[in-house]
């Protein structure tokens, strides 16, 4: 079965009682048991919920995994993965991981005696050099944010194998439509389902997918014990979103590619960061690792200072000024004043986040309309 057919049918079996073509939303918090000490498939909704399970079944199929867990947010999912670690363990994380993951590792996990070293995951030598005898996990993101840096997941997986580490990949930007990290040797693939999986800017959610039963069991134990499960309504909305995931992502990639090329040719733009452009440092790996598209996130630098850049970001009519990404509506933001404003300027610059950087999340609007909108905003 092809990807899209799976997204529509796996995990969405016809309801056995009513024949409903869309499974019901199970809101019950508890389930009546066949007998004292005899347990049915579901007992309590934190431990398992039919609507959440349907979503997890679909996600596992789409990521070529054997088990998936749905969480209340992307951060809850990352936290769930990090709870596999114990005091004294060490994590090597990509230097451009999502800011929330950075905060979790440095401000929360550190309290339990888990230490972290950041290394650029697109530089395999540097990544491997950061590994210590205490290292238990590699955590990377590809494409990374906001440079759209590309990590070679298969090569990272080899490093992880060699050092007996778990490799976790935050694949939020790539989606299973474009990249399936488990097939490339990763142990855990993670999503902020808030983004493309849900796809409509109307749910917060997260997911982990694995293809190893014992790893699944360990993650399930943590999730059940700590409780950050995805609610039934949200599970339904993400499942509904998955049905159009491939259509959306492929269309968004096609538009992003054309927008990147348009910006790249525009003299008002000094640099475009998009893995689909041959001048992007990760282009070759991306062409190998991403199936038929380079994602729908891109960044660019305008010829101008902080204020001029801010003006461009504030002048669009279709692109809305907001953080987050991955939805049907196109969004625009200036990392220096928005997503990365909490970094001091030197730290930002060290991460390559210059004042004139703008990040776009390409939605489903027509390419011509988005292009015209950027064109007028750049001239504003």
């Amino acid at each position: 079965m092809q990807f899209r057919t799976k997204a529509i049918h796996v995990g969405n079996a016809r309801d056995p009682q009513t024949g409903a073509v869309v499974p019901p939303i199970h809101v019950a918090s508890t389930y009546v048991q066949p007998g004292a000490g005899e347990w049915g498939e579901f007992d309590y909704s934190r431990s398992g919920n039919p609507t959440r399970k349907n979503l997890e079944t679909t996600l596992a199929a789409l990521e070529a995994g054997t088990g998936a867990l749905a969480y209340a947010s992307g951060m809850a999912a990352i936290h769930g993965a990090m709870m596999l670690l114990e005091s004294g363990d060490h994590v090597v994380a990509g230097s451009d991981i999502y800011g929330g993951a950075y905060r979790l590792l440095h401000k929360i996990c550190n309290r339990s005696g888990v230490t972290t070293t950041l290394a650029p995951s697109s530089d395999l030598g540097a990544l491997e050099a950061a590994i210590t005898p205490q290292t238990k996990m590699l955590w990377i993101e590809s494409p990374g944010n906001p440079q759209m840096s590309i990590s070679d997941i298969a090569a990272c997986a080899e490093i992880a194998k060699r050092h007996h580490l778990l490799l976790g990949v935050d694949s939020t930007f790539a989606t299973p439509v474009l990249t399936r990290p488990l097939e490339l040797g990763a142990d855990i693939v993670m999503h902020s389902a808030t983004k493309y999986l849900g796809g409509h800017s109307d749910v917060l959610g997260g997911a982990l997918v694995v293809n190893d039963k014992s790893l699944y069991d360990r993650l399930y134990f943590v999730q059940n014990a700590t409780g950050a499960v995805l609610g039934p309504f949200e599970s339904f909305l993400v499942s509904r979103g998955l049905k159009t995931l491939e259509l959306r992502v492929r269309e968004q990639c096609r538009t992003a590619q054309k927008i990147a090329e348009f910006l790249d040719a525009d003299p008002r733009v000094s640099r475009v960061l998009y893995p689909g452009l041959p001048n992007h440092p990760g282009h070759e790996i991306a062409a190998r690792q991403m199936d038929g598209g380079f994602g729908a996130m891109l960044s660019f630098e305008v010829n101008g200072d902080f204020a001029a850049t801010k003006k461009v970001a504030e002048s669009t009519r279709l692109f809305q000024l907001a953080v987050s990404l991955g939805a049907v509506e196109s969004l625009i933001e200036q990392p220096a004043s928005m997503s990365h404003a909490s970094y001091d300027r030197d730290a930002r610059l060290a991460h390559g986040i210059r004042d004139e950087l703008i990040r776009l999340s390409i939605g489903l609007e027509a390419f011509e309309d988005l292009r015209d909108d950027l064109d007028q905003a750049l001239g504003a």
């Binding site: 092809q2 529509i8 869309v22 109307d202 509904r240 504030e314 009519r317 939605g363 609007e365 027509a366």
Partner: protein, 402 residues
Amino acid sequence: MNDPNRVPLDVSDLGFSTSSVQAGEARQKPESAITDPIFCASTYTFTDTASVIRYIEENEEREEYGRYGNPGEKIAEKKLAALEGGEDAVLYSSGMAAIVGLLMAKLNAGDEVIFFDECYHRSREFCSKHLARFGVVTRQVKACDYDAMEKAINKNTKMLVSESPTNPHLSVVDLEKFAAIGKKHGVETLIDATLATPYNVRPLEYGVDYVLHSATKYLAGHNDLLAGVIIGSKAQLESVRKLRGIMGGINSPHNIYLLLRGLKTFSLRMERHNQNGQAIAEFLESHPKVEKVYYPGLPSHKYFDIAKQTMRGFGGLITFLVKDADWRKTADVIDAVKIPRIAPSLGGVESLIEQPLVMSYYQLAPEERAKFGIYDNMIRMACGIEDAEDLIADLKQALDSI
């Protein structure tokens, strides 16, 4: 500029996908949220007596009581009107509620309505059984027989009605001709364009007065809600909206949110429904066990020329006849498919399949069914947005199995 503004974007010059995502929605929404909230309230408060009086005297635009409307409904109506190129839209709790709402608003005892005979059987039933009780006369003429339609018009005729494409024969109406007959005789025209959707054709552009959709189908698109809508001019819809407030067939805020969410991917889904419909119709036509395929995108279709002239694509609904098969052998094909589910309805992401004889016309005698063009070996398939290869492989194994 990203100026706080509460009016929807003018999408008249923008692409269809842009309209699907953004039309009808204020740029600046409550709490600056990127999506509109779901207002569940059944009633809306006034600050003081003066504001109630102002509302009544000045016809101020605001909410009053849930049966008369809710904020989500207004957004959905604006989006649907924009997609259809119409001035106004009235949303209902189902397609049938919309048909009933329009006809009840427009027809009085003694009035007559003329239908092209290929149509959703419940629309027919409402007119012939229920409008009749109120003294409204329904006349049916053969689908796409414009002369017969014109001949049937008399001084009492108030409405000409057709689907396009029709269900399940996929006959395509020459909208220009249809609208012209109405104009010539001063009779209003209604097209149920559920099967076409505004992605493929916009009947208002041809001079039709009202477009109706079972939004349950492609517009919502996920087989998970019921909705209906009528689109037309503000003046012509005023009485329709008023009657809705009395009859009460308004849609619920939760449903409307799902409808709006479905509309965001409408353009994308339709493109795929069209591609799948065309590919599968072509496959079926080439299969030795298929006697005939009804699909407007096939040159063999009776209405191919007019369809080609007026439609951007031909949708996901296909009807076909299995060669040398009685009703049971035909049912075997349906029972053998693995991906499409056996169910009525159409227009959702999941493919559905059914045998009209069994699903909708089981109670009728064979002669009656034949009169409606419903044959024992007829199958209706509503292609979803799965991969066409998967659907074709599935249909192939099912047909080969008999």
